[in-house]
């Protein structure tokens, strides 16, 4: 049977597009099918208010591997990354603030106001975290080897992984193994004394997780946010995160890939344990010898495939993947820059972190643990227009707020009715730090986990398609025995954030393409 395409990729998010670009580069004929009218998945820039270009979901692409940009010539296709000098501005209500800069000396100066001890420790701490994170980076770039393997090639890669960890040396290797499962709160209590500093750092450990800083494994999550040696790094894309998707799409198309939007895949066809094609909502059927899904694992295996084709134990494992919506997103169009107490404009160019201390974060989680919305939520804010004025009309700004936690389960709560309440909560919380904010709001949009699931296909609103905890890491992601981007069905591959290494921009797509081309 002859096919027009070698590969059909389901979903034009960053991972789907990255896989498409790599496969196209290798000379394969690729068709990408996107349900929405625009590409990008959770990395989209949408002009929901005229003149304001908002990163509606993801607003930070830190962790994006520069090798991918090089491999695919993304600069040629318009990709320009912006890395502000400041990574985190962490204010407290009384107007004091700690600012974490790329420059260690400036950071230490900022900490010194609160704690001379912590200031002297900063550089060594940051360097050690950077060292541990580099090992994680190389683990994230790997295809997870099977731990039960007897295959020499896999044993070799398992051995290499071991050597890399060993390579950390006598002091850092035990530190690495000890740190990953640790609660970030304990690690930071051990290192520092100042609450504001610890809060600002701990927030990196809970990002996207249904866990507070006292939760085990939050140090692993914290280390995921240490990129290129920068703790809680912030990376913007000029024009918005959607431009990264656009660049990937252009790179893929330049090599002959076809990308269709408004093409909602509702079924993956299977015959004799082999994927043979897809069916669109319109009824159109497209066949290809290989199908790659970047949709989340639950959707891919439990909704798109006739359950009779899959083993019940495999399905049960997929069903048990922990997907939790923990955040709501609020996008604001502002008349002017809000006035954060005592802050210079330069300090606001990275991530603004409302995390005055670790117990504040833990209490925010406490509410969520019992199924509620945090009374005092953790907020992560970016104002990308400070470095990229093209994204709003002259003198105006966009403000992007990640609000954590929304503990209500989608299946039980009436969350879809609570957007207004969530929006009020964000403004009220933020007004303690930027009192004039409310008066500057021209337009606002709130996306609850419910919206994130419905519009952006994030399962339960989980940005990572599955919590990035150690039990869902490496060879256990998405489920044991299928961490190598393959599936129980011939001709069906998996390249979404539900696969290793989770929601690190483009990483799963790159890894999967490499594996598929083997």
């Amino acid at each position: 049977m002859s096919h027009s395409f070698d590969f059909i990729i389901i979903g034009a998010g960053l991972n789907g597009l990255t896989a498409a670009a790599y496969l196209a580069k290798a000379g394969k004929k690729v068709l990408v099918l996107e349900r929405r009218e625009i590409i990008g998945g959770a990395a989209v820039t949408e002009e929901i208010f005229p003149g304001f270009k908002l990163d509606t979901v993801t607003h930070n692409v830190a962790g994006f591997d520069a090798n991918i940009a090089r491999d695919l010539n993304l600069a040629q296709y318009g990709l320009e990354l912006i890395q502000p000098d400041v990574s985190v501005f962490a204010p407290q209500r009384d107007g004091g603030a700690i600012t974490l800069w790329r420059d260690d000396a400036k950071t230490a100066d900022s900490i010194r106001v609160f704690s001379p001890n912590d200031a002297t420790k900063w550089r060594a701490f940051r360097e050690r975290m950077a060292k541990l994170a580099r090992v994680l980076d190389s683990i994230h770039a790997l295809t997870p080897p099977s731990i039960t393997t007897t295959n020499p090639a896999e044993l070799f890669s398992l051995g290499k992984l071991g050597l890399q960890v060993r390579g950390l040396g006598k002091r850092d290797m035990p530190e690495f193994l000890r740190a990953l499962p640790m609660p970030i709160a304990e690690l930071l209590d051990y290192e520092f004394e100042n609450d504001l500093l610890k809060g600002a750092l701990a927030a990196g450990g809970i990002h996207g997780l249904m866990l507070g800083p006292l939760g085990v494994g939050t140090t692993y999550n914290f280390l995921r946010g240490v990129n290129d040696g920068v703790v809680r790094a912030t990376t913007f894309v000029r024009g918005g995160v959607g431009k990264l998707a656009d660049a990937l799409a252009s790179a893929a198309k330049a090599r002959g890939a076809e990308i269709r939007t408004n093409a909602h895949v509702v079924q993956i066809r299977v015959r004799d344990q082999r994927a043979t094609g897809v069916v669109l909502a319109s009824g159109e059927e497209i066949n290809a010898p290989q199908i790659i899904s970047s949709a989340d694992p639950k959707q891919t295996f439990l909704q798109l495939i006739d359950p009779i084709e899959l083993d019940p134990t495999f399905c049960a494992r997929i069903r048990n993947i922990r997907t939790r919506g923990v955040f709501a997103k609020m996008n604001l169009a502002l008349d002017a820059l809000p006035n954060f107490k005592n802050a210079t404009e330069e300090q606001l160019r990275g991530t603004i972190s409302i995390s005055p201390n670790m117990m504040y974060l833990e209490r925010a989680y406490d509410d969520a643990k019992y199924g509620n919305i945090s009374q005092q939520p953790y907020l992560e804010i970016t104002i990308p227009t400070l470095l990229d004025p093209s994204r709003a009309p002259q003198g105006k700004h966009v403000l992007s707020v990640w609000m954590q936690y929304v503990g209500e389960r989608l299946e039980t709560g009436d969350l879809r009715l609570k957007n207004e309440q969530l929006g009020d909560l964000v403004i009220r919380t933020l007004s303690d730090y930027a009192p004039n904010l409310q008066s500057l709001v021209l337009h606002s949009q709130v996306l609850s986990p419910c919206d994130l699931q419905e519009i952006y296909s994030l399962p339960n609103g989980d940005i990572n398609h599955g919590q990035t905890t150690l039990d869902q890491f490496l060879f256990m992601r998405p489920v044991p025995h299928f961490a190598n981007y393959r599936t129980p069905l011939e001709g069906l591959f998996f390249c979404g954030a539900g696969a290793h290494p989770g929601g690190i921009p483009c990483a799963a797509g790159r890894n999967a393409a490499r594996e598929i081309l083997k």
């Binding site: 344990q273 439990l302 359950p307 009779i308 083993d311 019940p312 069903r319």
Partner: protein, 396 residues
């Protein structure tokens, strides 16, 4: 916790003279009603034995996708099971190893009544996930009786409201015994003419009393599982945890069996839609099976000879022995017996056994270990055809 009796316990406990209660699943049932099960055995073959089978696990699959779900689970093709028909089948795990065996009753187009030896609710639920089907575990709410033996039909005819003379072997029908609604299937575990009666618990005692009253004229006899155990060996029917180990309880791969290895290759429909274990079974079917489940007959002369050496007459197992003994060809162990008994009817020492290729062929000669006065001896045996006893009335 004290194991409970079944819904028939108020009757069976009055009758069970030796109090030899046996555990069956999470219940206790009578081993025999007299000290020896012999009379009960003969009732199965000559009149009618009434057996409490309530501890069986029972499930109802109902809904649009019921057929597909059942077909996903079992190895046989349920599409070939007509409404009103019953199928004996195995089901396997993903590696094609047997989990359990039981019967599937197609009561309506999309309503199946499934029985099994072990509890399977969780496994069935996992298989039903994602389908439009409701699955009920009715094990504890459905009482069951087996009426087995040549007079079983006559007894039921006098009670059944709907005509049941033509109910064929391995068929099922809704019926009433007088006013009491029941399901009646022509099934059993004795290899004889027989029926199973399925009813809500609340009717259990009334049904028991009716059958005992009307059956009296036909020699109805309550039987325990010891008598059953002899009849089922004669019928060549295997028992889970005795003749094979469920893959769920197997500790090492050697303890797991595929349907082919159990002589149940005929229950595997590789030509149907995907089902659990299909991939592995397709592979296995390409190879010649290494093992087979067979019947063997121990030679009387050989047995007499080894006992005579100790000046003893042959000792015969008058109840089924559920212990494994090795089978040999010369010095090589080539298999093992898993159930053995003296067949009172055939006057033969018979056994159910697992044998390696090529020894499992009919007529093949093997030796079975026999312990005589604490010394190991070997008796000659020959692989025979099962069922050992297969009366025409079973199907007629």
């Amino acid at each position: 916790m004290i194991l409970p009796g079944t819904p028939f316990h108020p009757r069976t406990s009055d009758l069970c003279q030796p109090h030899n209660w046996r555990r069956w699943g999470k219940y206790i049932v009578a081993g025999s009603y007299e000290l020896s099960p012999e009379r009960e055995y003969w009732a199965i073959r000559n009149s009618a034995g009434l057996l409490d089978t309530s501890p069986l696990n029972k499930y109802i699959f109902q809904g649009k996708d019921a057929t597909r779900v059942v077909n996903r689970i079992i190895t046989r093709d349920v599409n070939k099971c007509a409404v009103g028909q019953v199928m004996y089948t195995t089901w396997c795990d993903e590696n094609g190893k047997v989990i359990d065996d039981g019967t599937v009753h197609r009561v309506e187009e999309n309503l199946f009544f499934v029985t099994s030896a072990d509890p399977n609710y969780r496994w069935f639920c996992e298989n039903a996930n994602g389908f439009d089907v409701t699955l009920q575990d009715v094990s504890d709410t459905t009482a069951a009786l087996a009426l087995q033996g040549p007079n079983a039909r006559k007894i039921l005819q006098t009670l059944a409201r709907a005509e049941m003379d033509s109910l064929r072997y391995f068929s099922v029908m809704p019926n009433h015994l007088r006013e009491i609604p029941i399901m009646l299937s022509r099934t059993g575990y004795t290899g004889d003419l027989g029926y199973e009666i399925w009813m809500e618990n609340k009717y259990a005692l009334d049904v028991w009393d009716l059958l005992m009253e009307v059956g009296d004229a036909y020699g109805i006899t309550p039987i325990g599982i010891l008598a059953l155990d002899i009849a089922r060996v004669e019928a060549g029917l295997m028992l889970i945890e005795t003749d094979y180990t469920s893959v769920r309880k197997a500790v090492i791969p050697d303890q797991m069996s595929s349907p082919y290895e159990l002589g149940l290759g005929w229950t595997v429909a590789l030509d149907k839609e995907n089902f659990v274990g299909k991939r592995a079974l397709v592979q296995e079917n390409r190879r010649a099976p290494e093992w087979r489940f067979v019947g063997i007959e121990i030679e009387w002369d050989s047995l007499e000879e080894i006992y005579a050496r100790k000046n003893l007459h042959p000792h015969l197992p008058l109840q089924t022995v559920r212990e494994s003994v090795p089978l040999y060809d010369g010095d090589n162990q080539i298999g093992y017996v898993s159930s053995r008994c003296w067949s009172p009817l055939l006057k033969k020492y018979i056994a159910l056994a697992h044998l390696r290729a090529p020894y499992f062929e009919i007529g093949s000669r093997v030796e079975m270990e026999v312990t005589v006065e604490h010394e190991r001896q070997r008796a000659r045996a020959v692989v025979g055809k099962t069922p050992f006893y297969n009366p025409e009335r079973k199907r007629k």
